[in-house]
């Protein structure tokens, strides 16, 4: 059942939220040992919330648009009474959070039921969720492969059908990369659209909060529930919420769609180009366009990430070097030691590149690009062969996502209906146009072009 189907039945009194929670926890118990997506299961809280929703329905009150829908969060979101791990053993020594993160608070207020916390790369610095402390999260479609990262637990939990909705964060691609590799939907909204209050920071200039779901409607419902200004988050925009779920069927008749070429197809595996062509064809994207400066933007994002992330963790690096994940600590240190000229210029490149992108949106409503250069590699694999050349995996998984989050554009990662391992594309819009992205995705989903897949079945069979 999708999240919207669960909510409809719970709201109608046809299904009790407690039964939904019981079923979700049963799936987690059965499947999590295989994929290692959850780092905490919050059964007591989940049952208490579910009982509250059932009581609300019995009393004839409104339990919210997501009544009884189970969800889980990347373990960098604060959850009251739970220590926020951020994928680290250092943070595991911190006291439990005193209140929920804003996004958790808002989803809960909409009736959704938090069932657990999810695995990630340490401090969100990675694209693979091969966490040295908590183990790798495995791709539900092939457990010998990575789920992507850093929100790998979130994508894997949705892909495995354990929960319909999950929350994640995206600094350089950490929602879009795992969404692509696990074959689910992921939305990274405009920078500042969703409150980051109560979310462990990584790179203040670039951190975004977003959601994963198995259908476009569920993604829109989750997004709508979290939207809205938050005066307690300095990065949150003072914009009113613009509900997307009620108008999913209103995709514009005439849509100007551009297909990003150049940087956005460099290192792309043949199957990546195939899925791109399928989506471009469905949207009538005849124009192959170049977004000037993408390579420089990606490099600038890389340097800025190292500088801010390294500075944030400098004290811990001084005191607890060996308690960091080896794959993370030396990159953080190198970032902290950069000459100041690099991150300072990177910030100015950000403005320059945003202007280049905004100019493209005068010609196009939506741009399309691959989400990842290739499907999920094997756990532990360091290179992948493309066109006869060995390409490093860790450095390249975010190749196409980094330039876009760098300038805060809204991007929806959409799983393309295909045989074999999942692959996604990025649907990209001008700032604040998430609603348009969700409408376009809903149209592609209705037409059978994109669809989340379940392990053991291709998404073509789901049609």
């Amino acid at each position: 059942m999708t999240g919207s189907e669960i909510a409809a039945r719970v709201r109608a009194g046809e299904l009790r939220a407690v039964e939904v929670v019981e079923a979700a926890l049963g799936r987690v118990a059965a499947e999590n040992p295989r994929i290692n997506a959850f780092t905490a299961v919050l059964a007591d809280r989940a049952y208490a919330s579910a009982r509250g929703i059932d009581a609300c329905v019995a009393a004839g009150a409104d339990p919210g648009p997501l009544a009884g829908v189970p969800f889980a969060v990347k373990n960098l979101f604060d959850v009251e009474g739970v220590t926020t791990l951020a994928g680290s053993v250092i943070d595991a020594e911190r006291p439990p959070a005193r209140q929920d993160a804003a996004a958790v608070e808002r989803l809960t207020a909409a009736g959704a039921v938090l069932v657990g916390c999810l695995n990630m790369d340490e401090y969100a610095y990675g694209f693979s969720t091969e966490n040295a402390h908590y183990g790798p999260t495995r791709n539900p479609h092939d457990v010998s492969r990575i789920a992507g990262g850093s929100s790998g637990g979130s994508a894997a939990a949705v892909a495995a059908g354990l929960i319909p909705i999950a929350l994640g964060s995206d600094t350089n691609g950490s929602i879009r990369v795992p969404a692509s590799l696990c074959g689910v939907y992921g939305l990274k909204p405009t920078f500042g659209r969703l409150s980051r209050r109560g979310v462990r920071p990584f790179v203040h200039s670039l951190d975004h909060v977003g959601a994963f779901a198995g259908t476009v409607e569920d993604l829109a419902l989750a997004y709508d529930a979290i939207q809205g200004p938050d005066p307690l988050d300095p990065a949150a925009a003072a914009r009113p919420a613009e509900a997307a779920a009620p108008s999913l069927d209103d995709s514009p008749e005439r849509l100007r769609v551009g297909l990003l070429g150049g940087w956005f197809t460099r290192y792309a595996a043949p199957e990546t180009l195939d899925v791109l062509a399928v989506v471009a064809g469905a949207l009538g994207a005849d124009d192959d366009v170049e977004l000037e400066g993408a390579e420089a933007a990606r490099a600038a994002a890389f340097c800025l990430t190292g500088a801010e992330g390294g500075a944030l963790h400098l004290d811990a690096l001084r005191e607890r070097y060996f308690d960091f994940d080896p794959a993370v600590r030396d990159r953080l240190l190198a970032g902290a030691l950069q000459p100041a000229a690099w991150p300072a210029k990177a910030q100015r490149v950000r403005r320059w590149f945003l202007e280049k992108a905004l100019a493209l949106f005068e010609r196009f409503d939506v741009l399309v690009a691959p989400a990842t250069p290739f499907p999920a590699p094997a756990i532990g694999q360091s290179t992948v062969e493309i066109d006869g050349a060995a390409v490093p995996i860790r450095a390249n998984l975010g190749l196409y996502t980094q330039p876009l989050s760098f300038i805060g554009l809204p991007v929806l990662a959409a799983p393309v209906a295909r045989e074999g391992l999942p692959l996604g594309v990025q649907l990209i819009a001008a700032p604040w146009r998430e609603k348009l992205l969700l409408q376009v995705a809903a149209r592609l989903e209705r037409d059978g072009v994109i669809a989340a897949s379940r392990p053991g079945r291709t998404n073509l069979e789901d049609q």
């Binding site: 390579e295 890389f302 400098l314 240190l333 190198a334 030691l337 950069q338 300038i407």
Partner: protein, 59 residues
């Protein structure tokens, strides 16, 4: 001439009060070399002096 990155790391390490364990300096230098390579992709861009960076601090 290539920069002596390990020497740079060693000096910066002391400036920041860090004490890297044996072997770590080489790893950090290798990552720094990667950053230097990436920075070259945008350092050469000629930007106007009045091009403000994107983030605006609002007190």
């Amino acid at each position: 001439m290539s920069l002596p990155l390990e020497a740079y790391v060693s000096m910066a390490e002391s400036l920041l009060g860090l004490e890297l364990p044996p072997g770590a300096r080489e790893q950090v230098a290798a990552n720094l070399a990667n950053l230097r390579h990436l920075a070259a992709a945008f350092e050469a861009l000629a930007l106007e002096d009045d091009l403000d960076p994107a983030p605006v601090y609002r007190p």
